[in-house]
């Protein structure tokens, strides 16, 4: 068996690099439940940012430019003068490193887009848009603009609700009370239910779960996602080779 393959083979069933308005709209529509329930997260972030002593402009700049949930919440814990800029950047790297792997899994599909479209889409590559794009790819309907469309809907929700929370200021009810923190986990298990292939998936998933659990206990931040993902993928690749 030859060891090298072409990039087209690596892409597998990748469709042509279309980048259409209807693809972006589909992304926004698929992201809508997450964008609506995600308003709660932004409200909480806005409230906490104010309590941490950020100005409204700073809170909005952070939600707009960083555009991520977890790393921003973690940053609030470090937001004490004098600001530890290096620690903030390092923590952000620990929390965000998993996106490297998510981007790699979609690279074959987005690799045929122009650099501007590809690296523009990268800004909107979050856990949520990645998970939604996986499903779209499984259905064979992943358009190049899907991530940007879905990402824009989530971005708008995140920034607007950050401002809302900051201005409302009052301590909001815990969103966990309404189960709103479970939309994304439920999406993940729904995707996994569709990806289950019996014994072929048992070993990689079991290893991913075990490594992630161990790393979640032993390491800070979200390294456990990165490590669990790599471990499961390696086991899957080794099994396929046998």
């Amino acid at each position: 068996m030859r060891e090298t393959i072409t990039r087209d083979e690596l892409a597998g069933d990748a469709e042509a690099a279309t980048f259409t308005a209807s693809g972006a709209l589909l992304g926004a529509r698929r992201a809508l439940p997450l964008a609506i329930t995600g308003l709660a997260d932004g409200l909480v972030f806005g409230v906490l940012a104010r309590q941490a002593g950020m100005s409204l402009g700073e809170a909005l700049l952070m939600s707009g430019a960083v555009n991520t949930g977890t790393a921003q919440f973690v940053a609030l814990g470090l937001w004490v003068a004098p600001l530890p800029v290096v620690a903030l950047a390092a923590t952000t790297l620990v929390v965000g490193a998993r996106h490297l792997l998510m981007g790699a899994t979609l690279a074959a599909h987005l690799g045929r887009l122009s650099p501007l479209r590809r690296y523009g889409s990268a800004f909107f590559l979050t856990d949520e848009t990645w998970a939604l794009a996986l499903r779209e790819r499984a259905l064979g309907t992943l358009d190049g603009a899907f991530i940007m469309g879905g990402g824009l809907a989530l971005f708008a929700s995140w920034v607007v609700s950050t401002a809302g929370g900051y201005l409302a200021g009052a301590s909001l009810r815990d969103p966990a009370r309404w189960g709103l923190d479970f939309v994304f986990p439920a999406l993940v298990v729904a995707l996994l239910a569709g990806m289950w292939r019996g014994r072929a998936t048992l070993a990689p998933w079991g290893v991913a779960a075990a490594v992630a659990l161990a790393a979640a206990v032993l390491l800070p931040g979200k390294w456990y996602i990165l490590l669990g993902g790599i471990a499961g993928a390696v086991v899957g690749a080794l099994r396929d080779a046998d």
């Binding site: 030859r2 060891e3 393959i5 072409t6 690596l10 597998g12 439940p33 700073e58 700049l61 430019a65 960083v66 800029v85 903030l88 950047a89 952000t92 790297l93 965000g96 490193a97 998993r98 996106h99 998510m102 981007g103 899994t105 979609l106 690279a107 690799g111 690296y119 990268a122 800004f123 590559l125 856990d127 998970a131 996986l134 189960g179 479970f182 939309v183 986990p185 439920a186 993940v188 298990v189 729904a190 995707l191 996994l192 239910a193 569709g194 998933w205 991913a208 779960a209 490594v211 992630a212 659990l213 979640a216 669990g228 993902g229 499961g232 993928a233 899957g236 690749a237 396929d240 080779a241």
Partner: protein
């Protein structure tokens, strides 16, 4: 806006964007191989498992039951939205009962 705050936020933005674009960029330089293709094929499932298993266990009985319910609905219906509704409703209900 204070200078140090702006600087810190821009550093965070740069790092985050680097992780998001880095995966696309990396795949342009890695030599394609069957091993790599197989690993990438298994990566999404493994990442999703690694995201959700520690989260489920940390969220206690209410979370575990709610996610099991969401998985069941997803398998039965083959659709995502009913599973989301079931997961959210179940966890809210169970938390109200258990706490």
């Amino acid at each position: 806006m204070r200078t140090d705050a702006t600087l810190a936020i821009l550093a965070m933005a740069l790092v985050t964007y680097g992780t998001r674009a880095g995966g696309f960029w990396l795949m342009r330089w890695l030599p394609p191989s069957r091993r790599l293709a197989a690993a990438l094929r298994h990566m999404p499932g493994a990442l999703l498992v690694a995201i959700v298993v520690p989260l489920a266990l940390a969220s206690g009985m209410a979370g575990i039951v709610a996610l099991a319910g969401a998985a069941l609905i997803a398998i039965r219906t083959g659709r995502v939205l009913p599973a989301l509704v079931a997961g959210v409703a179940l966890v809210a209900l169970l938390r109200a009962i258990l706490h």
